[in-house]
Amino acid sequence: MDFEEVLLEVRHLHKDYGNGPVLEDVSFQVHKGEVIVIIGPSGCGKSTLLRCINGLEEIVSGGIWLDGEAVGKDKAKWREVRQKVGMVFQNYDLFPHMTVIDNILLGPVKVQKREKKKAEEEAEKLLERVGLLDKKKAYPRQLSGGQKQRVAIVQALIMKPELMLFDEVTAALDPEMVREVLDVMLELAKGGSTMLIVTHEMQFARAVADRIIFLDEGRIAETGLPEAFFDQPKTERACRFLDTFLF
């Protein structure tokens, strides 16, 4: 596949919390339609990277460009950026006091000021796509973890984001629910969405990714096509990391 247009560019990103760097000189590009999977050991800075891109963490130096526009310095701009970047978290942070449909409509109606009726129709279509139309009126606590994550994906999708961030969305799920969430993501990828995924599901990473970024101790240690990375990792660190997933 060929990707021409650069959607997201991260250049020399540096981040620390005061006790040593969390991210060091991280640079990469995401093209429109591309699916990138970021993998690496716990504490390597994967989640922090996604949170920086969505402005949930302040960066120390370096820069982030979305659609050619620099973001990150100007706080007022974040609200605009966040509408273009959808994020799904590990702990399925739905709003517990709202029904599924209200959760989904909050963004389009209150932020994007879209007409409620139309947004609702669209929400229903998306819910149907993830197989949860019958849960429209349910409250989050009546859903399983996997169902909540699928709703969270719809909640992000309905904003029509140009880029979707997934932060270990299956890590807190019971094993039997992982599949239903990954299937939704796989389908999105096939549909041409631009996605940046942090995950520990190696089989899934291999299947979904156009490119793998291997992050280790805050640096990009290796990057490559999935087949190449999984079959013949170039770095010693990546070899050892992949070994931990074998029995």
């Binding site: 969505n54 402005g55 605009e80 966040r82 942070d93 909050l106 349910a138 909640q155 904003m159």
Partner: protein, 219 residues
């Protein structure tokens, strides 16, 4: 017991109960407003004001209403600020209650997970919208039991209003005891009046608390 006496003087109690209820509700509403205002100041960590708010909360919660009322009623006139009994009662009750309400709201805000705010941010909501649609509704549902307990507590506290020459239930009871020595009747009506006022409120509060605790959203 002298039933004729009771039926003769019951209207006095009804009138006094009206005073208690009217001033009590006014004070409680103001206390809610003061408490909410203080808890917002603390939640958003507004510089300077947050220290004033916490000093106020500590002062109001660690001093008795009676002392607050005496200061308002007997002390302040010496500064040229003369307040009527009614105003003293309402101001005192909202001063006392504001601190308790602020604590109740604060514990609600604390119970809302940090991830909720981030989820709101990542949808592009403004901090005002996050407060209005996400944080406040959840905080409120956590705070309701404490808020209800405070309402009952403050209604009970109104019983000291008589100390600033307000013709409330205690005042009437004491008057009848002093004037006619009809102690049993006077006390009987006093207890009955407070039960009639407080029982429904506390039953309602308990029901509300049970509903929130065992049901919550979506059961």
């Amino acid at each position: 017991m002298d039933t004729a006496f009771i039926s003769e003087y019951a209207p006095l109690y009804i009138e006094a109960a009206g005073v208690t209820l009217w001033l009590g509700s006014l004070g409680i509403l103001l206390a809610l407003a003061v408490g909410l205002f203080c808890s917002f100041i603390q939640y958003f960590r507004i510089p300077v004001l947050r220290y004033i708010a916490s000093a106020y909360i500590e002062l109001s919660r660690n001093t008795p209403l009676l002392v607050q009322l005496f200061f308002l009623y007997f002390g302040l006139p010496k500064l040229g600020i003369s307040l009527s009994s009614e105003v003293c009662a309402v101001v005192g009750l909202s001063f006392l209650g504001g601190g308790y309400m602020a604590e109740a709201f604060r514990s609600g805000f604390q119970a809302v997970e940090k991830g909720q705010m981030e989820a709101g941010l990542s949808l592009g909501l403004s901090s005002g919208q996050i407060m209005r649609y996400i944080v406040f509704p959840q905080a409120l549902s956590v705070s309701v039991p404490a808020l209800c307990a405070n309402v009952v507590f403050l209604l009970k506290e109104t019983s000291v209003f008589s100390a600033v020459a307000l013709a409330d239930l205690m005042y009437v009871a004491k008057d009848l005891i002093g004037l006619y020595y009809k102690t049993e009747e006077a006390l009987f009506m006093l207890v009955a009046a407070y039960l009639i006022i407080l029982l429904p409120v506390s039953v309602l509060a308990a029901a509300l608390e049970r509903r929130l605790r065992y049901a919550g959203f979506g059961n």
